[in-house]
């Protein structure tokens, strides 16, 4: 099988820079990371200098995602040799045990970290994700609530809690978590849109109105959010179709729904036009080359 560097004709520096970009963007393209990272560490480890340790960590987590336990174990052993007493490496050991579904041992590792350093948030979060993996949603919710009482500002924890509540169909509490997120990040269109979806799921006229408003807000923050556009259409149509509304409200909502439908059509036409133009360009290139060939031959 051809190596990455041959396939894409890149040198080791470009591979390293690509890994760094993925690290900074927090992108979870584990298969690519495993391919690129594995080659980098097996062939060019000495040239990487001190970067090699963070690349080991990144590749190890990606390997766990792809069930490549062999690669994960190699990376972990290198890290353990270099940093024998590190909490960060202990957490990685715990993560590997989690991937192998040895949850009790993993829990022991995390408890050891927490005994040493009670403020270590990473270990606490891993314990909660173990509970989630074992399907113990109720306990996970309880632990996460306790965690948030202490670390009120942790955005990803609030988000995780809202997801857990949605899984438990407790939409009221999920809405509360999303409200916290919206308050601290008022310009994030995704939180607005998720909040609107939760409100839509809760149902009832008031919630539908709220969801329509928040879908609009998400659209205002980001014009290209198609989900919000569809959401706006759906919520407006539902309100208009509901028998209990006054005539004015019905008229307004029909107008909103019509506008949304119009925008959706426009969006797909624009996309369609763009792809059509691209296709025509490609075809004209082909014909031109073909014609040149015929001319010369």
């Amino acid at each position: 099988m051809a190596s990455v560097s041959e396939l894409y004709d890149v040198g080791w520096e470009e591979m390293r820079d690509k890994l760094r970009k993925w690290r900074e963007d927090n992108s979870r393209n584990s298969e690519q990371i495993v391919d690129v990272g594995e080659e980098l560490i097996s062939d060019h480890a000495s040239k990487l200098g001190d970067d090699v340790w963070i690349i080991y960590e990144q590749v190890m987590i990606a390997a766990l995602d792809c069930s490549r336990d062999d690669l994960a174990l190699t990376c972990l052993q290198e890290l353990r040799k270099q940093f024998p007493d590190s909490h960060r490496v202990k957490r990685l050991t715990g993560m590997r045990l989690e991937a192998l579904e040895r949850y009790d041992e993993a829990n022991k590792h995390y408890d050891a970290i927490l005994e040493d350093d009670p403020t270590n948030t990473a270990a606490r979060k891993r314990k909660i994700s173990i509970l989630k993996a074992q399907g113990k949603n109720g306990e996970a919710i309880r632990e996460l609530n306790e965690y948030l009482e202490q670390f009120v500002g942790d955005q990803e924890a609030w988000h995780e809690l809202s997801e857990l509540y949605i899984n438990e169909h407790d939409y009221g509490k999920a809405a509360f978590c999303l409200e916290e997120l919206m308050m601290t990040n008022p310009h994030n269109h995704l939180y607005c849109e998720q909040y609107a979806e939760v409100k839509y799921t809760q149902g009832g006229l008031e919630n539908l109105e709220l969801s329509r408003k928040y879908f609009s807000q998400a659209l205002r923050l980001n014009n290209r959010n198609m989900r919000a556009l569809f959401g706006l259409y759906m919520s407006a149509s539902h309100i208009a179709a509901s028998p209990k509304v006054s005539a004015k409200v019905k008229k307004d909502n029909i107008k909103y729904a019509a506008w949304a439908a119009n925008q959706i059509n426009r969006a797909y036409k624009v996309k369609f036009m763009k792809s059509l133009v691209k296709l025509l360009e490609l075809l004209s290139c082909f014909f031109f080359c073909f014609w040149q060939l015929c001319k010369t031959s």
Binding site: V152, M183, L210, K213, S216, Q217, R220, N223, R224, R266
Partner: protein, 256 residues
């Protein structure tokens, strides 16, 4: 009385003045490294975050509520406002923090730190000063460029029982103390800012520590936050969002 121009042996300069400068400097550097070795690692106990940053986080939440509450639906905003401000059960009203000032005398960790600070700073100063006084005694080192009164004579001219000698002529001990204070800026250059050889700053800290004000009173902070939250009105930012949105076509052209 005319100032008797004493001519000092130039070997004094070589064997006394310069050695004292070097001794002072190296003792200071040594002190810096010894302090770093003895510096106790202040572990962040979990209790601290629970009580103190707990307080900060509550204030932060309430501030965020005031600033960005207009993005929440009216009911949610009111619910949060009530949680904080309600007359009986509100957080700001109910939770009266007991203000525990960090008394330097009783707080054990601070006493240890103070003692260590004293030890590493004052003790070497006394020791070295005494040693220099003993070794380099019996003669004057240098003349300070400004005239001094007679009162300074016993202080600056230890070991020289000459009543008629101008007080500007000083002995080695005073030259040592001059160096201690003068080399502060040198320490800053060589050891970087915030070094432990900087004695005078330690002394300043001690003096200001004794007169330290109480830690920021959480009750006062709560009260002012409560008032600020009371006045806030919920002006929903989403009141006319649909009209705003639909006033023009959506822009799908932005680069992703």
């Amino acid at each position: 009385m005319a100032d008797p121009e004493l001519l000092l042996d130039s070997s004094i300069r070589v064997w006394v003045v310069l050695p004292i400068v070097f001794i002072t400097f190296f003792v200071g550097v040594l002190r810096h490294y010894v302090t770093q070795l003895l510096h106790s690692d202040k572990k962040v106990a979990l209790e601290q975050p629970k009580t103190e940053s707990d307080l900060c986080e509550v204030l932060l939440r309430s501030r965020v509520l005031r600033e960005n509450g207009k993005f929440l639906p009216r009911q949610s905003f009111n619910m949060r406002k009530h949680y904080f401000n309600n007359a009986e059960a509100g957080f700001f009203k109910k939770v009266k923090r007991k203000v525990v000032p960090k008394n330097p005398m009783t707080d054990p960790s601070m006493v240890m730190d103070m003692m260590k600070g004293n030890l590493t700073n004052v003790l070497p100063m006394i020791l070295v000063g005494g040693w220099i006084n003993w070794v380099f005694s019996g003669f004057v080192i240098t003349k300070v460029p400004f005239p001094l009164t007679l009162r300074f004579k016993p202080m600056l001219q230890r070991g020289i029982e000459l009543l008629s000698l101008d007080a500007s002529w000083v002995s080695s001990a005073s030259w040592y103390f001059l160096n201690v204070f003068g080399l502060r800026s040198m320490y800053g250059l060589i050891l970087g800012q915030d070094n432990a050889a900087d004695q005078s700053r330690v002394m300043q800290d001690q003096m200001s520590g004794a007169a330290m004000a109480m830690p920021p009173d959480p009750n006062k902070a709560f009260k002012s936050e409560w008032e600020a939250l009371e006045v806030v009105n919920h002006k929903w930012a989403l009141e006319n969002v649909e009209e705003d949105l639909m006033s023009r076509d959506l822009n799908f052209e932005s680069s992703s």
